[in-house]
Amino acid sequence: MPNDPSERTPAPGTSQRPAEARRVVVPRRGPMLVDGPVEVELEDGTVASSDRFRVALCTCRLSERYPWCDTSHRRRR
C-alpha cells in the first residue's frame, strides 16, 4: 500500500541518523575516527569536546593535543 507508513522507507538523504548505530573507524595505526560532535571524558574527569564533523581520537598516546590526534603517531626517519 503506497500510503502505509509501515512500508515507507526514508527518502535518500533523509535517513534518521540518530537511530542508526554510530560507526567508528579503528585503524591498525593512527587515530580512531568518530563522527562529531563528541565529548571525551579523560581519566582526571575533565571533558574535551569538539563539534567538528569528524574527529580523530589519538590512540598512540603521543599527541600533544590529547585526546585529539596531532599526527605524532607517524613514523620518523
Binding site: 575516527l33 569538539s50 567538528r52 564533523f53 574527529v55 593535543r65 596531532d70 599526527t71 607517524r74 613514523r75
Partner: protein, 343 residues
Amino acid sequence: MSHDRDALHDRHSPALPSSRGPLSAGVLALLRGEGPPPGAELAAEADPYGDDLQLALYCCYELHYRGFAGVDPALEWDPALLTVRRAMENRFLGALRQDVEVHRDVRSAVKELETEPVEGSGASWFLRDEGELRHLREYAAMRSVYHLKEADPHAWVLPRLWGRAKAAMVSVEFDEFGGGRAERVHAKLFADLMADLGLETAYGVYLEHSPAPALAVVNLMSLLGLHRALRGALVGHFAAVEITSSPGSRRLAEAMRRTGAGPAAEFFYDEHVEADAVHEQVVRHEVIGGLLEEEPYLEDDVVFGMDATVFLEDRLGDHVMACWQAGRPALRSPLPEPVAVSA
C-alpha cells in the same frame, strides 16, 4: 541605459599589481583595457617558474576568484585572454611534467609524505627554532596569497566528483569554511593571524610583495581546480597539503608562541594541527579511495598532483631559506612597519 560602473568593475576587489616583465605587462594592460593581449609566443619563451609568467598567470586566475578593482569582470571569459592563459598553463604544466619526479603509486607517495624527518631544514623548522617576528611577518604575508582564499580552488572539483569522494570532499571543505560559522572560516582565521602580526588583512594586499615561488604554489591549485581534466591531480594536491599540514602547523604554532605573536596567530596553526589530522584521514581514505574506486585510471594524475605540490613547496622553502640565511628579506619589497596591532 547606463550601467553602474562600480558594480560592473569590482570596486572592492584588490588593486592590480605592477608588472614583472613583458608577459605580465601585456596581461595587465589588457586588464586595464589598454591593449591587446600579449602574444602566446611570449609564454612559450618565458621562465615557467619565473616572476613574469607566474604573476601573469596569477592575474588571469584571480578573475575567477575576486577580480581586481577597476577591471571588467567579463574579462574572466575573454577568448583572447584565455588563449594566452592556455599558453602559460602549457608552459608551466609542461615544465612540471618534466621536472617533477613522480612516485610509482599513491601508496608510496603517501608513505613518503607522512614520514616525518626528526630534524628538517624547511622554513617551518627555522621559524620554530630561531625565527623572529620579522620572519613570521614575511612568511604570513607571502602565504596570504593562498590562505586568504584557503580551500576556494578545491571547491571547483566538487561537481567533478561523485559518491564517496564527493561526500567526503564536501565535508572537508565545510570544515575549511568554518562549519557554517563565518568567524571560523579558515581564511578569516588567517586574517586574524595577520592582524596579530601587524599586517594588513585585506584580500590580495601582499600580491605585490610575493615572490614567484609563492605565486607558483597558488597557481598550481588554480590550474588543477579549473580544469576538469586535472581533477585527479587536484585531489592529489589536496591530499599532499592535508597530509603535510598538521606537523608543519605544529611547528608554526610553536613559533607563534615562542615569539609572542598573539592568540589569533597561535590559534590559526593550533586549529590546523587538529583539523588537518582529521582531513588527512578523510582525504586519503574517502576522497582518494572513492575517486580511484570510480576512476582507477586517474591514479597517475593523483600521484602527479601530490608530487608537483611537494616540488613547488620545496622550491618556495628553498627560496625563503636562501634569502633568510643571506640576511635578505624573502619578499620582493620590504614590508611596511606593523600597522596598529589590534588590542
